[in-house]
Amino acid sequence: MPRLFRTLQRIVVIGIVLALATTAGAEEPPVSSPGQRHFPGSGSERLNIQGVVEADVLHPVLEAFHQRYPQITLNYRDASRGARQPSAGIPADVDLLMSSAMAQQYQLANGGNAQPLGRGVINPAWPESARWRDELIGLTHEPLVMVYRRELADIAPPPVDHAGLLALLNQESAALAGRVATYDPARSPTGFMAVAQDMARSQEAWGLFEAMGAADTQLLDSTTAMLEGLIEGRYLIGYNLIGSYARRVVREHSELVLQVPTDYALALQRLALIPTTAPHPETARRFLSFITSRQGQQIMTSRTPLGSPLLAHKDPAKTNESLEPIQLTPGLLALIDPLKREALLHRWQTIFTLGDAVVPQAVEGEVE
């Protein structure tokens, strides 16, 4: 590829990244779609939930809630589909905001954009580590994992930890070229969280990302997309996938193997908050009360792949020792410091545009 073209491409990418921080992306009309669920209620009460979980995944919980409170008109919108919202703002009609982009959620609450959940709303047995100030609550506890296809073993022994993955990429970069997938931190806040946390943990992570860049790693904006590619055989290995989705898919597709990194596995929490602008905070409280109750947690564990922090907390023997939960501390703010974010993305783009990367589409918002 001519050098000039590459430079141009780089400029375009940087421009797009900078635009992310300031302008809203393209809007799609909020029509009924796979990203939406609507349960008409018999009464006048309403509840609008915005999350980044696929509506399909959350459907059993929403349905159970609707059965319990049939008078509430329930709307669920998956923000990773449909209308994309600027990450800084909260739509005025949202009563409950759920996201695994922990730093963004923390920043919203820290800035005073969340209202208190209230006494007696949350199950008292809920772990303290999954709460902050009675404003944020971690509803799930999900490790970031690697998923690979079984035929990877034909090329090399599959990696079990980060160092193994780095070695594999360094040795087999030709064989793996274009067949590795991971999050694009520029487009997905969750992906950004994962990269920033990897970086915060150790600067060695740049080695891994550079190796990924060299292997022409594909940058995607959701775990679902990565899993789709893996199922179709386009990718051999995926890095930093959300464990809950991966586990469900891997259970159905025997050609895939889920590997929780044995050195460390970052565990994300899906944080929920009630915005101060929420038009129906009471119904949002009722939903949180329901989802954290025993009944709600039973549905979460048995009928969704999301799991229960309550059970993980109660049974430490079952939890993986390498699991490193991302703590709800002000340190999260450092991950999305504007300067730092800019620098990290810049370096990221440098690595991945030097390789034969695709030009990412300019979209902004919460994407998994």
């Binding site: 920043q107 820290n110 800035g111 005073g112 902050w132 100030r133 915060a200 501390t329 002000p330 340190g331 999260l332 703010l333 450092a334 991950l335 410091d337 504007p338 300067l339 730092k340 620098a343």
Partner: protein
């Protein structure tokens, strides 16, 4: 008798009130000092966090560069749930990075090398903001900048409360000890009073001996007063006994005379003798009756149950009336009894019966000692009602004794020896006193000085 509050209760109440006031002051003081300590400790934390952050400020791409460390942000939330804010601004105050516009809350920004902290409000929330002025330490760039950090006040409040609670608990312990000590000390201190009371209660009505007990200095005066009262009581009793003895003696004399006259008359058959005896008996009976009346007057004078019935009394009228009553007696003795030439009207607030009694006694007394003349007069200026006679008078040295009941000088001349004592008693009951002096032109004057308003 309404009883004043108990000494015990009063002392305990006063001291407890004092203790309470001290407690309130100490609590206030400890609250402020707890607040100050918490602020100092957490301001130091702000300073350290800003210092740590300043190690991550550098120069890159021709601008200030800041790699905010997560650990420094975590430091800002010692309580875990504080809202945390930070900002990096350049020397002109333009924001470089951060999550809140803290520079607007802190003006002016500190000079490089200085740290300052202060309270602020952001979106209606109380914050504590710390600002650290610093400068890049590179060889090529010496750019000044300011790091601002802020957090909400949860940890400060928690620490203040904890410090306050600790010192309050200590104070409560001290108060309990102090109260227990106070009650015990009061009991011990008031024990002598109790002892004194027990001793006084145990006394019989006739026991007037001094109280012999060791008491604290504060009670010594009371005990001395009590013993002085007892001593006076003893003296009064001695006087009373002597008075009763004297009175019996005085009464016995006329009665013995009566008995002797009767006996002599019974032995005789002479009717003249009988007649004489009857006269003697009449005289003796009169004397005894007069003595009994005077004793009664004196008793009434000293009796606390009969208070003075004061009313305006015109002394001139009173003198005239008394004088008329004594005229027959004076005539029989050949004495010229009369009113003084100048006798101005004088009215005093007094018990009429008592003043009349006193004047009668003075006139009676004067008639006994006078040679030929007795004058009753009034000195309006000196407020004195006086009786003057031309008898021998009373020598200066004997004047004080003359006022005592049954004094021997008075008993001569057929007096009961109570006349002057009654007059003195009346004078004293009216707040006045007796006046005696010899007139330069001859004659002796005894007067009754009665102070008071003229009506």
């Amino acid at each position: 008798m309404t009883s004043a509050p108990s000494l015990h209760r009063r002392l305990l109440g006063g001291l407890a009130l004092l203790l309470l006031l001290t407690c309130i002051l100490l609590l206030l003081q400890s609250w402020y000092s707890a607040q100050r300590s918490a602020d100092r400790a957490h301001d130091r934390l702000l300073a350290s966090a800003a210092q740590v952050m300043s190690d991550h400020v550098g120069w890159r791409d021709d601008r200030l560069w800041f790699d905010v460390p997560a650990s420094a942000l975590n430091m800002l939330a010692p309580h875990g749930d504080e809202r945390v804010f930070y900002a990096l601004v350049d020397h002109e105050g333009n924001p470089v990075s951060g999550n809140a516009d803290l520079a607007a809350l802190m003006a002016p920004l500190p000079a490089p090398g200085a740290f300052q902290a202060g309270p602020a409000t952001l979106n209606g929330r109380s914050l504590r903001v710390g600002a650290l002025g610093a400068r890049l330490t590179g060889w090529h760039h010496r750019e000044p900048y300011t790091l601002l950090v802020a957090h909400t006040l949860e940890a400060r409040r928690a620490m203040t409360w904890q410090l306050f609670r600790d010192s309050s608990l200590r104070l409560a312990g001290i108060v309990v000890l102090a109260l227990a000590g106070l009650v015990m000390t009061l009991r011990l201190a008031l024990r002598p009073l109790k002892d004194l009371r027990t001793r006084l209660k145990a006394r019989t009505a006739h026991d007037l001996s001094p109280i012999d007990v060791t008491v604290p200095r504060e009670l010594e005066e009371l005990l001395a007063a009590l013993n002085a009262l007892l001593a006076r009581q003893r003296q009064v009793r001695v006087h009373e006994q002597r008075f009763i003895g004297d009175a019996s003696h005085q009464l016995r004399t006329p009665l013995a005379g009566i008995a002797a006259s009767a006996e002599l008359a019974l032995r005789s058959d002479d009717t003249n003798r009988w007649q004489q005896a009857l006269h003697e008996i009449q005289t003796g009976t009169r004397r005894a009756t007069r003595l009994a009346e005077q004793l009664l007057s004196l008793t009434r004078l000293y009796s606390p149950q009969a208070p003075l019935a004061r009313a305006p009394v015109a002394l001139d009228t009173l003198a005239r009336e008394s004088l008329i009553r004594f005229l027959p007696t004076a005539d029989s003795r050949g004495i010229d009894l009369g009113l003084a030439e100048h006798c101005p009207p004088l009215s005093v607030d007094a018990d009429r019966w008592q003043v009349e009694e006193a004047l009668s006694n003075l006139i009676d007394n004067a008639l006994r000692h006078a040679r030929s003349r007795v004058t009753v007069g009034i000195d309006a200026a000196g407020r004195v009602l006086y009786v003057e006679d031309d008898g021998p008078g009373i020598s200066d040295s004997a004047q004080a004794d003359a006022l005592r009941p049954f004094h021997s000088d008075q008993a001569q001349g057929g007096g009961s020896g109570l006349g002057l004592a009654i007059a003195d008693g009346v004078a004293q009951a009216h707040g006045g006193h007796m006046i005696m002096h010899r007139r330069p032109e001859g004659g002796f004057m005894i007067g009754l000085h009665l102070p008071g308003e003229t009506s």
